[in-house]
């Protein structure tokens, strides 16, 4: 068995994983990043719109600062976030954006003089100041008081990831690509690394490390209709949950993005609405101002997705073979703007829909997009339950997003959290003496080898992993989508419990030799069903509406009973997660109040 030692093992080589690894490498520690795909294909690359940081350079960002960013973030979270973490985030974000500029990100910059912009389909004029020329500029995004989203056209994730990976290569961070961690190695109190399957050969390897970081992105692929890359199937969450001691936080908080295209669910950026695009119904009427007179299309994502669904339920959706949808209209932004600032959108429309968005409407509907929940950590990024285990980025519940995150805050989180948590990991490594217990390591490997043998020999049964996944998609789409209620959630939980059992009887159809893709899915399908159960069961128990979690039968945000965070652990052999709760935040800079959009009643604490 090949065994690879390092100071820091990052499971995931997207922006968060690499940013933490860079911090460790800069301090002289060995860092190894694992990635299912070549690092530059990580889902971070797909983020189009931008990163929020209160630089206040552009005209529409004047007067912005971390305090304004903080207020937007807390409101966006519907008071579900940890305010200490949100404060750390907003204060550090501007520095991290400048650092990225120094490393090579070609941020769009302030161009002085008069220029036009659109808001709600109307044209306005702004004047950029001469003294700000050449500083990092910003665009508008939903739920923000100022233009704050730093961007490089609509390829922000791509350029930042390439810059980050360049920096990692320069500092000697080792990236092992096409490998997948299938279990953590731990003794119930301390994490020692991971058992890893090579996706080039199928061989198992052991990675031992003083500190282990889970930075594996979201788990959107437990939903059928998701904007997520196909690799975002929650593998990192599964291995954390499988320890039985590491809790996942707020798994019921799942965000739907307003503009997934129909039928392929590929995302078109919020930048479309930020830059002045509008949403139209079957009659080509703009409807968002009816529901949100002030913010309209630029209310937060949970709010816009909900009103879109309501409007379609009223019969204003556009009928299609793939179900109802609405229209996104960016035609008025003009061909120059679309071909430069919204170029990826232009390409997506042409390649996947066969339409030209400069002249035609884009069919869109709300689609699963982001997981606010994840591996619960403290403000230092240390996971609950196991010493030496950390988490950062979308896979973590750090928790600056609470029950809804604002566009541009997640991409910023990856690098800002990476910077902050990276320093904490370095502190941990400095004080760490590692002792790896070979009995624990051998047992962890033997367990995974036995699972693989059982799947290949069909000794537990011959259920199809693909069929179980399809049934899971059906259950969770039906029960735990945008609108939720007790009846559907109860049914969803029961169905998923039966599927959890079925998943235990999976056996391969093919021979499972080498980097066999059926084995890859079979190894984690039961874990994926567990994640679905954490979402559905958490949602069933949370009898209120907060951020993206909308209960039709409990429409109020209930600060009296639910100003807290759900923690889900999975004891060995259980058929449901064990839920407990902790206060949403220890410190209140801003006491719970009205978000200023989204309507809805509040039951005060």
């Amino acid at each position: 068995m090949q065994t690879i030692y390092s100071d820091l093992l990052c499971i995931g080589a997207g922006l968060a994983g690499e940013r933490v690894a860079i911090e460790a490498a800069s301090a002289g520690f060995d860092a190894v990043c694992l990635s299912i795909v070549p690092a530059r294909r990580s889902h971070s690359s797909a983020a189009q719109g931008g990163m929020q940081a209160a630089l206040g350079n552009c005209a529409m960002g004047e007067g912005d600062g971390p305090d304004v960013h903080f207020a937007d973030t807390v409101k966006g979270s519907d008071w579900g976030c940890d305010q200490e973490v949100a404060r750390l985030f907003v204060d550090t974000a501007p520095i991290v954006m400048r650092e990225l500029a120094a490393w090579g990100v070609p941020w769009n910059r302030v161009v002085p003089g008069e220029s036009k912009y659109f808001k709600g389909g109307k044209e306005f004029t702004k004047v950029e100041k001469k003294e700000k020329e050449g500083l990092i500029t910003a665009r508008a995004f939903g739920g923000t008081a100022k233009w704050r989203t730093c961007y490089t056209s609509d390829g922000t994730g791509h350029t930042v990831l390439y810059t980050m990976d360049n920096r990692a290569a320069q500092l000697g961070v080792v990236v092992h690509d096409r490998v997948e961690a299938i279990s953590l190695i731990h003794d119930g109190t301390r994490c020692m690394g991971a058992v890893v399957r090579c996706l080039k050969t199928g061989d198992l390897r052991v990675y031992l490390a003083k500190a282990t970081l889970i930075a594996s992105g979201g788990f959107g692929r437990i939903y059928r209709e998701s904007t997520n890359a196909v690799i975002n199937d929650g593998g990192g969450h599964v291995i954390a949950l499988d320890t039985g001691v590491v809790p996942l936080g707020n798994m019921e908080a799942v965000q739907f993005h307003p503009t997934g295209i129909v039928p392929t669910d590929i995302l078109v950026t919020e930048g479309c609405r930020g830059d002045g695009g509008t949403l139209l119904d079957v009659n080509e009427n703009r409807f968002m101002p009816e529901y949100e007179p002030d913010k309209a299309e630029l209310a937060s994502r949970d709010v816009v997705s909900r009103w879109m669904t309501v409007h379609m339920q009223k019969g204003f959706g556009v009928k299609s073979p793939y179900g109802d949808h609405l229209w996104l209209d960016i035609r008025h932004l003009g061909i120059d703007h679309i071909r430069t600032k919204l170029r990826e959108v232009d390409e997506i429309c042409k390649s996947f829909l066969g339409i030209d968005p400069a002249y035609q409407l884009i069919p869109v509907r709300p689609t699963q997009h982001y997981s606010m929940g994840g591996v619960r950590t403290n403000k230092d990024g240390a996971a609950y339950g196991l010493a030496g285990l950390f988490s950062a980025g979308e896979s973590a519940c750090w928790d600056m997003h609470g029950f809804n995150r604002l566009g541009g805050n997640s991409l910023a989180e990856t690098v800002v959290a990476g910077n902050i948590i990276g320093k904490k990991v370095v502190d941990y490594l400095k004080g760490c003496e590692a002792i790896f217990n070979s009995k624990v390591v051998d047992a962890a490997v033997a367990k995974q080898a036995a699972r693989i043998t059982a799947l290949r020999n069909r000794s537990n049964g011959s259920e199809s992993a693909y069929a179980v996944r399809e049934a899971m998609f059906d259950a969770i789409m039906k029960g735990a989508g945008i609108f939720r209620n007790e009846k559907d959630l109860t049914e969803c939980v029961e169905t998923l419990q039966a599927l959890h059992e079925r998943a235990g009887r999976v056996g391969l159809k093919s021979n499972g030799v080498g980097p066999n893709p059926e084995l890859t899915l079979a190894l984690k399908i039961q874990g994926m069903v567990k994640l679905a159960l954490c979402v559905a069961y958490g949602a069933l128990k949370r009898t209120e509406s907060r951020g993206s979690h909308t209960r039709e039968d409990f429409p109020e945000r209930n600060d009296r009973d639910w100003l807290n965070r759900t923690l889900a652990t999975w004891p060995e052999g259980a058929s449901l997660p064990e839920l407990s709760y902790e206060a949403a935040t220890k410190v209140f800079e801003i006491p719970p109040g009205d978000r200023g959009y989204g309507g809805g009643k509040i039951i005060s604490a």
Binding site: V37, P38, A39, R40, R41, S42, H43, S45, A46, R98, E99, A101, A102, W103, G104, P106, W107, N108, R109, E133, G134, L135, I136, T152, G155, H158, T159, Y162, N166, R167, A169, Q170, V175, D177, R178, L199, K200, G202, A229, V230, T264, I266, L267, P321, T340, E344, I348, S351, F352, Y466, L508, K509, S510, N511, V513, G514, P515, N516, P517, E518
Partner: protein
Amino acid sequence: MSRILTFNIFRYNPQDPGTPPRMDRFMLDETDRMTLFIALNRIREEQDPSLMFDFCCRAGICGACGMVINGRPGLACHTKTKDLPETITLMPLPAFKLVGDLSVDTGTWFREMYQKVESWVHTSKEFDPAALEERMDNGLAEEIYELERCIECGCCVAACGTALIRPDFLGAVGLNRIARFILDPRDERTDKEYFEIVGNDQGIFGCMGLLGCEDVCPKGLPLQDQLGMLRRKMAFTALKSLVGKHKHAHK
């Protein structure tokens, strides 16, 4: 009338050497707006769960799904079956090590390439967290972005005559990367330093000018322009250094 599509797909699992390389045939009923992403997933889920292929973002952004589609390298995710004949032949990209079936190891190739070109900003400046960012002209930022749009899908390498016969050739993608850093004022490397990386047969002089790279680039990058620019710039640098040596010899 919807068509019945025939897929001829290259099959070989190097970890299972008892089974020789072959072409397998799969039939599939075509559906509305079907892409190769949809088709290949259906084949795997309904007909042969061992079929290996790569997709990641499935939206033309990450570059994972490069393959040879009816003889031409391209991204499978945004290839619509309606634009193809009834018989579709799929092969893995050449020039990269085969992982299995349609899946190839691009990660190792690209990592070696960017180690060779030292694909990072070379600067003597320390980042100062207390200072404002260094200013840049927006037009220049956009020009840099233009060259940074490459998604490392490997199609240009697979379509390159030189890359197929010279494994150490940087390829259009490597030369494009160099051009991106030459353009960037944050990178302090001199022309002479760049010349040391690309002024050879592994670099600008290896290109046979067949233009395959630019023809197949799914992002429409101006790859040949970059090569032309580099050749002119590097020829000038080479000339300068020759003149310099000449002078030196006469001293």
